[in-house]
Amino acid sequence: MLDPRLLQNFNGFTAHLVVADRHPVEMLETTLRKLGVDVEWLPLAGGRAVLPERPLSPERDILVVDGDLDAPLGTAGDPSARLLVPVIGLVGVETPGRLKALMQIGATAVLRKPVHGAVVYSALFVGMNGFLHRRRLEERIADSARRRHGRRFVIKAIVAVMRQTGVDDDEAYAILRRTSMRERLSLEDYCEAFVGRSEAKQARPDGQGRQVAGTD
């Protein structure tokens, strides 16, 4: 599902163009400027684009990369090295190999060369929002993985509460959930901290290691 907050106005963005031949993309520059987007032509040195010294930001930068170039960003074949800004691909030779290279650098939209002005806003809209959508999904996947990792602490915490208070597992879970909400922590984060504190107290020589969720 797409996030409802779609980016629609690109005024103030800078498009960094990585192309060998400007002629087929003249209309792209004209149309980008109409949309309030600044245009920077990135020089190529030894077939590699020379990126700006300042870090690129998805809040203000977009890369437009010619798919006919041979790995101009030096990242083809290495998905982990994908750039963290939106990429729009320029398609000349429409072969699986060239399209795959564009996907590997993270292209979320394409423009056919020679570029026609009427589709530039559409490519920006789809490309930028596709990038943002993908970034949100990646963040959710990372968050899910982190929470999955945290489930073992939830189980440990439930067992600890059952042992300490004599309640059953449902009630132990309810206590932990209630307390985590009160402390505005995710259940997994709260349980990890709870288990950590519980284990630390149990390890103390004075033997005062007992803690109950909601009372510590």
């Binding site: 907050r5 980016l7 106005n9 259940l187």
Partner: protein, 383 residues
């Protein structure tokens, strides 16, 4: 030896559900042609064709004109007809002179846009509604791009200022059974109705809504005024005397403008077309399109598209609405936004106007929020 006249295509529907406006557009263009003929400044030969409101006929007729060697065509009212013919103009590298207000988000290099873009009609209307009418609206429109996009812009504009839309309702183009939506609005009691209905649907709506409000004891003009960006004088006449007054319209031209240029334009138009339809903003935009085209042709000496485009960028004319010139980057016109309220004489009283012509912003890059409005409630934080 006299130079042969340059043939100019003119394509407006003389029949169909919105022909009241398009016939006034045709008349506006004809008036400018006749003025050039009288002045002898440049020899133009209008080649007039009538698509009759049929979308397919627009393509066929445009292809015929362009295939016949014509390079400039003044044409189209609806966006759907414009979108239909633009590929042909791009293929032939010809120039479409599009003389109507529209919803923006387009800037073809083969079109000169002499009508208002959204920052010149809907944005000033939103300002006026918030300032003088209220913050709670109800949208009713004809089911096509003009209504969808204007409603989106209105929704964003209202939301940004703490206002809201109660509902958006759409009717098929040409639909005249408006009873259900009228009843819904009367029951909802918004501060205003925003109408993007066109043609016969709009005229029927104005009549039925006024009558329904009266039956419910509502003073429609004061309590639920209807605002729009497309209502013009010939349409007021089509609504009829029972419901003609009190409607708000955002436009760059009203025929009631009390300037020498406007008075002269209205008088010449009335003399040339005594049977109407009355002057409209789109008639003025058509007049402007032909004036700009003729003057550019006179300056260049032939009808080559690159030279005419270059020439038109340097022109500044004193139009009936005031100074008008074309922005070379977007090919849209600098125009003067105004807000009018219709009166019993089927004309508009001007309530507000910009101090100077406003630059076109067809993509709303200077005004639209970075992100579109969320269409569902934000998710709760899960802990």
């Amino acid at each position: 030896m006299t130079r042969a006249a340059t043939r100019i295509g003119v394509m407006f529907s003389e029949t169909g559900p919105y022909s009241v406006v398009t016939r006034s557009m045709l008349n506006g263009a004809r008036l400018a042609f006749s003025e050039f003929a009288e002045q002898g400044m440049v020899a133009l030969e209008p080649v007039v064709v009538d698509p009759g409101g049929d979308l397919r006929r627009y393509s066929e007729l445009a292809a015929g004109l362009l295939g016949d060697g014509i390079r400039h065509v003044v044409a189209c009212y609806t966006s759907s007809s414009r979108k239909e013919v633009i590929p042909l103009f791009e293929k032939h590298d010809a120039l479409l002179w599009y003389p109507s207000h529209y919803e923006g988000f387009e800037s073809s290099d083969n079109v000169i846009y002499t009508g208002a873009s959204p920052n010149q009609h809907i944005l000033p209307l939103i300002d006026h509604l918030i300032r003088a009418v209220g913050r709670c609206g109800f949208c009713v429109g004809s089911n096509y791009i003009w209504a969808w996009e204007n409603n989106r812009i209105l929704r964003e504009g209202l939301n940004a200022r703490g206002g809201r839309l109660i509902a958006e309702r759409y009717l098929p183009v040409g639909e005249t059974d408006v009873g259900k939506v009228v009843a819904e609005i009367v029951a909802a009691r918004p501060d205003f109705v925003f109408s993007t209905l066109i043609g016969d649907s709009a005229y029927q709506f104005f009549r039925d809504f006024r009558a329904a409000c009266a039956a419910a004891g509502i003073d429609q003009i004061r309590q639920i005024p209807v605002a729009s960006c497309s209502l013009s004088e010939p349409e007021l006449e089509a609504i009829g005397p029972a419901a003609v007054d009190g409607h708000l319209s955002a436009s760059v031209y009203f025929s009631s403008l009390d300037t020498a240029e406007s008075r002269g334009f209205v008088a010449r138009y009335a003399a040339a077309f005594p049977d109407g339809p009355a002057v409209s903003a789109d008639a003025e935009a058509s007049y402007i399109a032909v004036r700009l085209l003729g003057e550019a042709l006179a300056a260049v000496g032939d009808d080559g598209v690159p030279a005419v485009k270059a020439a038109v960028s340097g022109l500044r004319i004193l139009a009936p609405q005031g100074p008008v010139w074309i922005d070379p980057e977007t090919c849209h016109a600098h125009l003067t936004p105004r807000i009018g309220r219709s009166n019993a004489a089927a004309r508009f009283d001007v309530l507000a106007e910009a101090a100077a012509p406003v630059a076109p912003d067809p993509y709303l890059v200077r005004t639209a929020p970075r992100f579109a409005l969320a269409t569902r409630a934000p998710g709760l934080r899960v802990v």
